[in-house]
Symmetry: C2
Amino acid sequence: MINYNEKNLVNQLSIDCVIFGYQQKELKVLVPKLFFKGDFWTLPSGFIFQEEGIDEAAKRILEQRTGIKDIFLEQYRVFGNVPRTTHAALNSMLELNKSHFDTLKVNDNFLEWLTQRFISIGYYALVDINKVVPNLTEIDQSIEWYNISELPPMISDHNQQVVFALEALRQNLDSKLLGFNLLPEEFTMKELQQLYEAVYAKPFRRNNFQKKMLDLEVLERVGKKLTGAANKAPYLYRFKR
Amino acid sequence: MINYNEKNLVNQLSIDCVIFGYQQKELKVLVPKLFFKGDFWTLPSGFIFQEEGIDEAAKRILEQRTGIKDIFLEQYRVFGNVPRTTHAALNSMLELNKSHFDTLKVNDNFLEWLTQRFISIGYYALVDINKVVPNLTEIDQSIEWYNISELPPMISDHNQQVVFALEALRQNLDSKLLGFNLLPEEFTMKELQQLYEAVYAKPFRRNNFQKKMLDLEVLERVGKKLTGAANKAPYLYRFKR
DNA sequence: TCAAAAGTGTTTGAGCTACACCCATGG
DNA sequence: CCATGGGTGTAGCTCAAACACTTTTGA
């Protein structure tokens, strides 16, 4: 457990991650639920060690929750209004968990740490959902993928953060060729299209979409996918490295 | 002077501002020089009060240096690698200014404050250069506008920050109609074009540029500018509010 | 009436949209 | 050989680039 007594963490600064995954035509976000009494969902968050760059810190936090290294991630915005978390919300949580905290093996500074003002650096990450083994930290009760349209109410401004993260993802999906980070190694054109449709929440045209993607000259065909269905077998594509 | 003893500031977090101005076909950046011995230039920087949002803080810092309120500004990136400032550079500055600091009316924690690790939120601002009266703070020796292509070497990663800020400005100039923040109330089409050419460091075609701008339907003609030159008088335009 | 610079019109081409058509697969 | 869905071709549209032309101003 992180020792909140030692001055090994940067104070008042946190990292909140919006971890995007994609499955079954739906864009999803990985959201843990805290083990505190009452229903408290939150984005995967963490702090920054003194000897650690912020990108490193984000990577560490992501690896802990997803089990994979080499995740694509990018900072997109800082959230630093004051107050971001209402006192009412905090007090409600503290009240509910009074006895809970008393028996926890956290050191004395934990609550003091938790209730100070935080400025948060927002990162979003893109992962192949099949490679992720969602991982509980010591403050999580559960961790699950939620459809982006069906997110639970999260603490502080975390729901708002997802809105900004999605906006950033949309702006970069094309220009930085990010889509492939959300798909498995090989995929059909239709799957890629459905991913785009999930991200932008609007339909694309089959033929034009294919042309646009192939014109980028970053895809290579690696075979056909015989599905057993009574129709032409779609080609499989892979992202050229 | 800010009291570095009191815990009224957020620790280890700073705001660095790239203040863009435009004059005589050149994009410029406002850069103060510290009064320390040795040549130390730096971006206008400041810290965040506990009771203050980060946007508020940036506004306050900008107002202090430029004398104007209601500046357009936007956060564009966080700089949080470690170490951002080399120990060599810091030691060199401290060595040079040893006696200097001794006689300064800063409190004892100043040096400790100054030499800790900082994570910096990068803001860029756009100002009408004619409205600015550059303002010295107590740690400035001078403050001047520099052409973006002729910036002095700045401390830490500040030169690199300008590169990122310019990149962000380029991405947003069109989509968010930011150009008008850099010009006086009324301007000719040619002046607007030259601003674009300064920002993107490339030429635009007169007729196509005009068409593109007018098609945005955000400009209104407010008269002609009789320059006394032996040619057709250009129209003056104003940004519709 | 001429030079200089502002302003407008028109053709060309690239890229996207939409419709129509062809191809492979299993029953 | 047919239904199904994948894949391709092409005409039409839109927007921006490139070129040519007209207009205004002061000498």
